[in-house]
Symmetry: C2
Subunit: 261 residues, 2 copies
DNA sequence: CAGTGGTCTAGACCACGGG
DNA sequence: CCGTGGTCTAGACCACTGG
């Protein structure tokens, strides 16, 4: 999609909505799906500030020259994907901090409040070729270039999670333009805004093992300490794999909550 | 598969559909939601054999005296819940074996195939009052009567999972009429067919701990062996809690897979 | 109160599947 | 070919929110 560089000017606050936007979408898709994609692009581009209302569905419908019912179907899909929130009587809103909720799960120690985002420090960022597990998960050939990230997360001063993150270099080359110091604790918004890559869903695989020497040093525990490992593969709307991530933390005090539907 | 209440007569193969069915639903709900509930009841009652088609949406709509669009919305909700499957050009079908897929997650040991349902043995069934964790999760008063089930699951001869299951006695009294020997490995279909309770979603909470004496005996391991515990609370469509369940198994060889949306 | 999203209708046309 | 579900339209009416 539209990979934007790190230094672009802020978006205009009044988004340019026009029926011509539809021409930039896949003509084979149904109209509501093309509307959904157009709106997704506007939302990802920051056209409407999170927390503020979009135009009314009737206004959007006439702006794009479609019926209200069709626009409703597009909007509803975005609600299902977690991008929008609709409030009866007041309007349609861009959801903020969606990543905390559905695509973000943490190790939690007994004492913490469970709210807030832990601090993180990036230990390394490099371009290499992926190992076996990541490349299989990302569907890449054995020698494809990838961006590899090593990160450590903290509650206060205590490291509790060691992360290895792997991104396909092709889609994420713009990610390398961003100084490591400017990366905040949340990466998915960066993927969206810098690389135009939107995470739609993810799979996680949990296992329990023992700390090896590297992990033990990072987490300040002994080799052999019980460790929980979470391998996550994140996917785009089209089903292609965007990111592979392995997070490891001490098993004591570990808590993982899932909603199943 | 579908264990039906022991003494009931077989269902009629031609379901009696009539607009009067709607009177038995909550009048405060929107029409499509009431249609959804009516259809759920028919499906749970076995009105349409799994794998065979329901009447066409237009036929259903006129049978209930509603418009096609409204009927479509009801049917779509059942698709989202996994009860139905629609195939363009051929029809609407009751899905079989839905419980394997979304509401069923297992401990898996390295060697197993990952397919199939493990055998299970029920060790105890009794009516008591719940402990602290279950009663809080079920939203019951401290001294409410509950049905408590202790169950052990096997891969072949090897026990790998010890389960404690708690059900509110009020809703599940019919469950006690079913002989323990007739209970198969899947309980949710029994809840549906014997007690009319349909599980719509669930929450699971994973933690890692050590085996106490009781669990160690059941799982044939030493006290203190690392153990994974999964606490699940299952909810009905109206949001009320139906079942609390804690499953514990050895941490080595443990695997848990989740899809996040 | 005016404006928003939520429900429901009635119908047209299209795309797919199987006989 | 016919019957199925999928898309899209145009509109009426209701229920909720906020000033």
């Amino acid at each position: 999609m539209q990979p934007r560089a790190a230094h672009t000017a802020p978006m205009p606050s009044i988004p340019a909505i026009s029926p011509a936007d539809l021409d930039q979408t896949d003509h084979r898709l149904p109209l509501y799906a093309r509307l959904r994609d157009v709106l997704t692009r506007h939302i990802a581009g920051g056209a409407w500030p999170p927390g503020e209302a979009l135009p009314a569905e009737s206004a959007l419908a006439s702006a794009y020259g479609v019926s209200v019912g069709t626009m409703r179907k597009a909007l509803q899909q975005l609600v299902d994907e977690g991008l929008l929130e609709r409030r009866h009587g007041s309007g349609t809103f861009v959801r903020r901090a969606q990543f905390d909720k559905s695509l973000f799960r943490f190790f939690r120690h007994a004492g913490d409040t469970g709210s807030g985002i832990p601090a993180s420090r990036i230990l390394r960022r490099e371009v290499t070729t992926a190992g076996e597990a990541p490349e299989a998960a990302l569907g890449l050939p054995a020698d494809a270039p990838v961006i590899r990230l090593q990160r450590l997360r903290f509650w206060g001063d205590e490291p509790f999670l060691a992360e290895d993150i792997v991104l396909p270099h092709d889609r994420f080359s713009a990610f390398l333009d961003i100084p490591v110091e400017e990366l905040g604790p949340l990466l998915y918004p960066v993927y969206e805004q810098a690389c135009g890559q939107v995470v739609a869903r993810a799979e996680e695989l949990l296992t329990v093992g023992a700390a090896d020497a590297v992990v033990a040093r990072l987490l300040r525990c002994r080799t052999g300490t019980p460790i929980v490992s979470i391998e996550r593969t994140a996917f785009a709307h089209d089903g292609s794999a965007l990111e592979w991530r392995r997070s490891r933390g001490r098993a004591d005090g570990f808590t993982y909550r899932v909603e199943i539907r």
